[in-house]
């Protein structure tokens, strides 16, 4: 299985290590033609403004949008912002998931945190999640098929799935727990057309 990791800026190497540990091929994507042979894509954490601007400059926005309409894509943190349809501000996004996201929703770095989450689809054991200047999902369109996978104790939505698209406000690539990556690879398996 060939899983691309958008490598414009941010924590892409951590995702690659995680994918390789689960037996998938990890391919760095910096230019549109590198999307061609991929089965799926991860958009990592980083600075969403930086990633957005580089995506515009190198002609990646439309190819990424087309890719996300057909194939599994997972966005973590900045990647979640990039996938959302509504982020309440003017910066380049793909706009493919029917979610509303608030950037830097928890405040500045001093408010970055770690906590345990219950996440649908990865088993009963809580998932230790790291939030770095993280976004929050402030609205979902359930009629469009958006499913909420996890909430903070105060109810804030931090993981969602819409068909073949996955988004998390936290960073599963920063911990040793590979269950979210496995969940994504399972989504890729099940979305492959029957032969």
């Amino acid at each position: 299985m060939r899983v691309g990791v958008l490598a414009l800026q941010g924590a892409f190497i951590e995702h690659e290590h995680m994918l390789k540990s689960l037996g998938a091929d990890a391919i760095e994507v910096r230019l549109p033609e590198q999307l061609e042979t991929l089965d799926a894509l991860i958009i990592p954490g980083g600075e969403s403004t930086t990633i957005g601007k580089l995506a515009v400059t190198f002609g990646l926005v439309e190819p990424l949008r087309r890719f996300a309409q057909e194939k599994p894509v997972w966005g973590t943190c900045a990647g979640m912002i990039f996938l959302a349809k509504d982020i309440g501000r003017d910066q380049p996004i793909l706009g493919v998931m029917d979610i509303q996201v608030n950037r830097n929703a928890f405040g500045r770095q001093v408010d970055s945190f770690e906590t345990d989450l219950d996440i649908k689809g990865i088993g009963d054991e809580p998932f230790h999640a790291v939030f770095i200047r993280a976004p929050l999902v402030t609205g979902v369109n359930e009629k469009a098929g958006v499913e909420i996978l996890s909430r903070l104790e105060d109810g804030g939505i931090v993981a969602v799935r819409q068909n073949h698209l996955l988004a998390t406000a936290f960073h599963p690539e920063l911990t040793g727990d590979s269950r979210m990556h496995q969940l994504f690879l399972d989504m890729v398996h099940s979305s492959e057309p029957a032969k």
């Binding site: 980083g46 001093v110 345990d116």
Partner: protein, 301 residues
């Protein structure tokens, strides 16, 4: 809603993971020195991953002399309010009260920096005492591991700030990465003496010998002035770059800033580096690093 009733262990802030994690999000990016909110906007629009708020860029500190201190909190807040990307600010080496002030203002990262005039010629700040992460400069592996031992969550090789001469940045990046490669080949019985010789905490020497990398993200800094300079350091093996005077002391800061961001992402693609290097206007004038001009990098103990 919690479905299995587990209460979790609550929320933890200011942990090592969270502090080091922000640096991981900055990787592959460019952190730019800015002295006004307008500069900060130009940097953000160019694609900077973060900005460093300071009163004078290093090139001006070198020319004007005098004591260089932490910036005015009003000026730092002005920059915080102007951009959405992380904002870093500098305190003097050992000046833990300046660091407390920067934490109180709410900056995202504190740079305990040799570019400012040191406040203590023997001791650095105990960075474990802060919830805000610190980045520190280093010239070699020993210095890097001493700073990490004190709690630094990110490193940057020092180079020689404010010169526009990349030679020291290359020297320091090669020193750190080369020492890590040599350390990986040492048998266990040599590690204690090696730790003693480079003045580094033994447990960190053992960790680096096992993992083959620093426990924190490592950027390059000090003298980077062109897209090719940034790509050179990336190819040598750093995680990202700081550009200080190189942008706002050049002819066309917005264009040069964007070009350096693009070259840092595509550091292995000479065609793209060539393309973004065209027509950037004047680079900062620059001064050669000589024994007389090599002054900032030596600060730090």
């Amino acid at each position: 809603m919690s479905t299995n009733g587990h209460s979790g262990n609550g929320v933890q802030k200011g942990t090592e993971t969270v502090k080091r994690g922000l640096a991981q999000m900055l990787k592959g990016g460019v952190i730019m020195d800015v002295v006004t909110p307008e500069h900060a906007k130009i940097a953000e629009d160019a694609g900077a991953a973060a900005v460093m708020a300071l009163e004078r860029v290093p090139a001006d500190i070198r020319v004007q002399g005098g004591v260089a201190r932490m910036s005015d909190p009003d000026m730092i807040e002005g920059i915080i309010n102007a951009v959405t990307i992380p904002v870093m600010a500098k305190c003097r080496i050992g000046h833990f009260v300046e660091a407390q002030v920067l934490e109180a203002i709410g900056v995202d990262y504190i740079d305990e920096s040799e570019v400012l005039t040191p406040a203590d010629e023997e001791y650095h700040v105990n960075k474990h005492a802060f919830k805000i992460p610190f980045v520190c400069g280093c010239r070699n592996l020993g210095e890097a591991l001493r700073r990490i031992g004190e709690g630094a969550a990110m490193m940057r090789t020092k180079g020689e700030a404010g010169t526009g001469d990349v030679v020291e940045a290359v020297r320091h990046a090669r020193a750190v990465l080369g020492e890590i490669r040599r350390l990986q080949n040492m048998p266990p019985e040599e590690l204690m003496t090696y730790a003693k010789n480079i003045g580094a905490p033994y447990h960190l020497v053992v960790e680096v010998a096992e993992t083959g990398k620093l426990p924190v993200v490592n950027f390059a800094a000090g003298g980077i002035a062109t897209p090719a300079d940034a790509a050179l350091l990336m190819q040598i093996g750093v995680d990202g770059v700081f550009v200080g005077s190189g942008i706002f002391k050049s002819g066309d800061p917005a264009k040069r800033a964007k070009a350096i961001v693009e070259a840092t992402t595509h550091y292995n693609d000479p065609d793209i580096i060539a393309k973004v290097s065209r027509g950037l206007g004047e680079a900062m004038v620059g001064i050669n690093v000589t024994p007389e001009t090599l002054v900032l990098g030596k600060r730090g103990w």
